[in-house]
């Protein structure tokens, strides 16, 4: 019978290496998916996966059983992804913009609003490309809040806790992200072949 995360964590805390292996193997794919959606970069995502499990191991004593282990793990991964993106921005690399939400030069506004009627495959590629561009144009806070809500199914309360925000601020980050996505994607999805 498969043991729960809580049991595995308890064994890992007691020094059982095999228990930590179980946790790593159980969550590595989902941490990778989260990291990729946060960073949009494969190599960075691998980096996030490794660092997340190393940090989690060192901080296992801080985990409290009343919260889900995976939520706690995602929080570490999301924070590290943000660190990574911040670092990329400091070095002038392409990535999420710091204040895209408030910027007058919001990239999303600059996106073309109409598309010709391509075939479905090409259309799908364009949608994916537009989604990626729009996510890249979100602010860090908007992107993290949106990814945690949309892809990870976390509640607004959990997102607020993960990002150190009020519930209202977390909610509005999601609203702004959805608004930008809608503005960028609506012209596309409304002409869906």
């Amino acid at each position: 019978m498969e043991e729960s995360d809580s049991v595995a964590v308890a064994r890992a805390k007691a020094g059982d290496e095999d228990a930590y292996r179980v946790l790593v193997e159980r969550h590595s794919r989902s941490v990778f998916r989260l990291a990729y959606r946060m960073t949009g970069n494969e190599q960075d995502s691998e980096d996030v996966v490794q660092e997340t499990f190393l940090r989690a191991y060192k901080q296992l004593h801080r985990w409290e059983a009343r919260s889900s282990f995976s939520t706690w793990l995602y929080r570490i991964a999301a924070n590290y992804s943000l660190d990574l993106v911040r670092r990329r921005q400091r070095h002038g690399e392409v990535g999420m913009t710091e204040n895209a939400g408030e910027s007058e030069t919001d990239l999303v506004r600059a996106l073309p609003s109409a598309e010709p009627g391509p075939d479905r495959l090409l259309f799908s590629d364009r949608v994916q490309q537009r989604v990626a561009e729009t996510l890249d144009a979100l602010s860090r806070q908007e992107r993290t809040a949106f990814v945690l809500r949309h892809f990870e199914g976390q509640s607004i309360e959990e997102i607020a806790a993960a990002l150190g925000l009020s519930g209202n601020a977390a909610k509005h980050s999601i609203f702004r992200a959805v608004q930008k996505l809608r503005r960028a994607l609506e012209p596309l999805v409304n002409v869906q072949p």
């Binding site: 989604v131 909610k171 996505l181």
Partner: protein, 246 residues
């Protein structure tokens, strides 16, 4: 009838409390249309591909994580229990040292027997100090060999906790060595104590620059080298044929 706003539709889409949205949607075609558009937009976000990982991805991740955890696990020997044991041992050794050294002045001893007791006491102290130096060396080596944090900061809370515990026993050994007139040992322990205090007072997570400062402190004093040399001498003396048995 007031129409639903976008925020209510978003909350409803994600299953968050949003009021009587469902009833309204059943009755209002305009809002139903707006909601279907929102659904199409958000569903299209799911089309964003995530690169596939190989079948053995989990094993690969574990293999890398395990390799990087290896020194950390060795280091976990520095958990508070062994450290408390070390401090307790230090206290016992020191108590034994002083009881032996300052035993009743009225007690009559043969000169040869006094010399033997003194050698045994010194050896007890050296064995304990040797063990203490070995533990300290591991903390210093761990920090000196840490890779610069690639992004953000490095968690050194293990090292910090270990250093805090080592400071306590270091202080006892240093005082004992000083009282015994062993200036070389006392000086080394004095230098070691300063470095251990710096580590103990560092933040639990250090930036690349803070890590560099710590390394500079360790390297600048040459403390790691001195500790290694001293530890080797202790070991050598301990295994020497003439060493008194305990």
């Amino acid at each position: 009838m007031n129409h639903l706003n976008e925020e209510q539709l978003v909350l409803y889409y994600y299953g968050e409390p949003a009021g009587d949205v469902e009833e309204h949607l059943a009755a209002c075609e305009a809002c139903r249309g707006a909601y279907h558009t929102l659904q199409r937009v958000l569903n299209s976000v799911d089309s964003l591909p995530v690169p596939e990982r190989g079948a053995d991805y989990e094993a690969q991740v574990w293999s890398t994580v395990e390799r990087r955890l290896a020194p950390r696990r060795t280091f976990s020997l520095f958990s508070w229990k062994p450290m408390l044991a070390a401090a307790a041992m230090a206290a016992v050794v020191i108590a034994a040292f002083f009881v032996g050294r300052n035993g009743s002045p009225f007690q009559q001893k043969k000169p040869a027997a006094v010399a033997t007791d003194s050698q045994v006491r010194e050896r007890i102290l050296m064995v304990a100090v040797g063990d203490h130096l070995e533990r300290s060396q591991m903390v210093l080596a761990e920090l000196a060999n840490s890779r610069d944090p690639k992004h953000g900061s490095l968690d050194i809370s293990y090292e910090q906790r270990a250093a805090r515990d080592l400071v306590e026993s270091n202080r006892l050994y240093r005082q004992t060595a000083s009282n015994a007139g062993d200036e070389a040992t006392a000086n080394l322990l004095d230098e070691l104590e300063r470095v251990l205090l710096d580590i103990a007072h560092s933040p639990a997570e250090v930036s690349g620059d803070q890590l560099k400062d710590l390394r500079k402190e360790i390297e600048g004093r040459g403390i790691l080298f001195k500790v290694k040399v001293f530890g080797s001498e202790v070991q050598h003396n301990e295994s020497a044929p003439g060493a008194p048995s305990l």
